[in-house]
């Protein structure tokens, strides 16, 4: 439908090397409505960034492969586009903000030139017009426009991230993917950046995927939440549903393992064991080994996504209707 900006269906992404196949993303499906902010949550190695790179068409060539599935941006399948067509999509219709602002910028080009570069690439305009646009963008993210002639090292971490955001938003993309945009920043600076991103997102009606491992950031910014574990979406739903009524054992355990500011807990809940090795995933539920609520049947087959409430999807056997009946 036209109200969905992004539809990802049955997406599988593998990294293939000579020694092994790493199953980074396993069969994920989600939709993002226009103007909505979705939080993509999970631990290191859960496949969050790979999903984002897949959408952007930026998987490392030769190694990263989309095995199956479709990624539709307003109905057009991005996976069927040629590299040349994807270059037009990137930066103009989808932009990405990378995690580390210290390495995302080119140290030998002025920040003005770096913003103007995107503008020149996607619009027919003169260099002077592009630079003017760059200055507008700097003003928009709260940096004095006169500093467009400065180099990245002359800015602090928070300001560099503002510049990265300015580059991402320069062509007013429909979809913005922010990969841990504030993880490298201090909390007071994080608060500034989040405030600014929320304001820009509202003003321009940009849809956004916010990748983070910080559930607090998700609560403040997002309307829907997708929880990833070992390359799968284990839970997907509205912020209220997922936060107030988490269904998947992993989501529940994740909440209990965070030290809380309002409650006093003597000992933190620990999720035993480690994340399964993505090059050697079991043929059953990949959370099985660490799960508190497992049973023998969990070993029999891999769970599939079940809609427990409208819009609230969980991938766990205990919500599968056939589970109680005994027969699959």
């Amino acid at each position: 439908m036209s109200e969905n900006i992004l539809e990802v269906k049955d997406l599988v992404i593998h990294y293939e090397t000579d020694e092994e196949v790493v199953e980074a993303v396993n069969d994920i499906t989600f939709t993002l409505k226009k103007g909505q902010v979705m939080g993509l949550v999970g631990e290191t190695g859960a496949g969050k960034t790979t999903t984002a790179l897949g959408i952007m068409g930026l998987l490392p060539s030769k190694v990263g492969h989309v095995i199956q599935g479709s990624i539709k941006l307003e109905g057009e399948d991005l996976l069927r586009k040629s590299p040349r067509e994807m270059r037009d999509v990137r930066g103009k219709r989808i932009s990405m903000i990378f995690q580390d602002p210290m390495t995302a910028l080119n140290p030998v080009k002025t920040v003005g030139d770096q913003i103007a570069e995107v503008v020149l690439l996607h619009n027919r305009c003169s260099k002077a017009e592009a630079l003017k646009r760059a200055q507008e963008m700097l003003a928009m993210v709260g940096i004095v426009p006169e500093r467009y002639k400065d180099y990245p090292h002359q800015f602090s971490g928070g300001m560099k991230q503002r510049i990265v955001i300015a580059i991402a938003l320069a062509c007013e993309p429909d979809l913005l993917i922010a990969d841990e945009p504030t993880t490298a920043l201090d909390v007071t600076i994080q608060a500034q950046i989040l405030d600014m991103m929320r304001k820009l997102q509202k003003d321009h009606g940009t849809s956004m995927i916010l990748i983070t491992h910080d559930l607090g950031v998700v609560a403040e910014m997002c309307e829907t939440v997708a929880v990833m574990y070992a390359g799968q979406l284990v839970e997907f739903g509205s912020l209220e549903e997922v936060f107030d009524n988490p269904k998947h054992p992993y989501t529940r355990a994740l909440y209990q393992s965070i030290p809380s500011l309002d409650k006093d807990v003597e000992r933190l809940h620990v999720i035993p064991g480690m994340v399964s090795d993505p090059s050697n995933l079991p043929p059953y539920c990949s959370f099985f080994e660490r799960c508190d609520e497992k049973c023998d049947r969990c070993r029999d087959f891999e769970p599939w996504a079940v809609e427990v409430d409208p819009g609230h999807v969980v991938r766990c056997l205990q919500y599968t209707p056939e589970w109680n009946g005994g027969e699959k």
């Binding site: 631990e43 928070g158 201090d186 965070i258 500011l261 620990v270 999720i271």
Partner: protein, 322 residues
Amino acid sequence: MAELLLEVKNLKKYFSTPRGMLHAVDNVTFNIEKGKTIGIVGESGCGKSTLGKTLMRLHTATSGQVLYKGADIAAMPLKEFKQKYRSNIQMIFQDPYASLDPRMSVLQLVEEPIRVQNPKMSKSEVTSQAKNMMELVGLAKRLEGSYPHELDGGRRQRIGIARALSLHPEFIVCDEPVSALDVSIQAQILNLLQDLQRDRGLTYMFITHDMSVVKHISDDIAVMYLGQMIEKCKADEIFKHTIHPYSQALLSAIPIPNAHVKHERMVLKGELTSPINPKPCCRFAARCPYATDRCFGEEPVLRELKPGHSVACHFAEQFVKE
């Protein structure tokens, strides 16, 4: 009155830079009781790590005293410190990826401090002690021959903890030990640190920028800003009765993982000012929403406002909430 393990008095650490003196730690005074945990909170560049390293004698203090059970470890010759006190004061480093030698196996890494501090100990004794340490921190026997790159962050941090503990220290400086870890692993490490403290009566100085972690683990909390300690009190007190405007901003900036709490946040303007040759004024004044002329002209001192609650702010009284 509980026994004091460490008394820090007017500790200063300045670094000389081409642009002037960088006041990394400026006139910091505090005490740590035996068996307790003090949490040091602040943003990057506020001098938390420099403070930790100065206590460890990894930096030499510019001036001031660090009394460890009454002996001034900041002023004594480094050689004497290493012989008598290095084993008692150990540190767990922030980045378990950078603080371990990639060419040493897990067992060698844990053996190293024991061997260095006990040059006369037999090789088999060193190995058996190291193995005990590995067991204590929950590193499986089969990992003895593994190298750091084969392990995940949580296990690497356990090696760091085993190395620090292998000398049976009384006091451990934990410099952001969980910042580089995922939440589920972070919980494992925090629980381990708490268990070890309970079983061995350890004293911790816990440096972090994560307020929820510090609340969980600390007895006392000290907030630092640009090298100075600006607020110091019991852990629950700071969350209930925050006084200093910077602490208020720091607390309100933390995103809360709850779908219904939409709190008013106090967003600070600007960023840290330079710690190089600071002017004699309140260092937070430039970002403080309540700053007056007095704040720009006179440096506030840390003073006790309520029993056990000290604040460095000229107008602290007006922020006291009952």
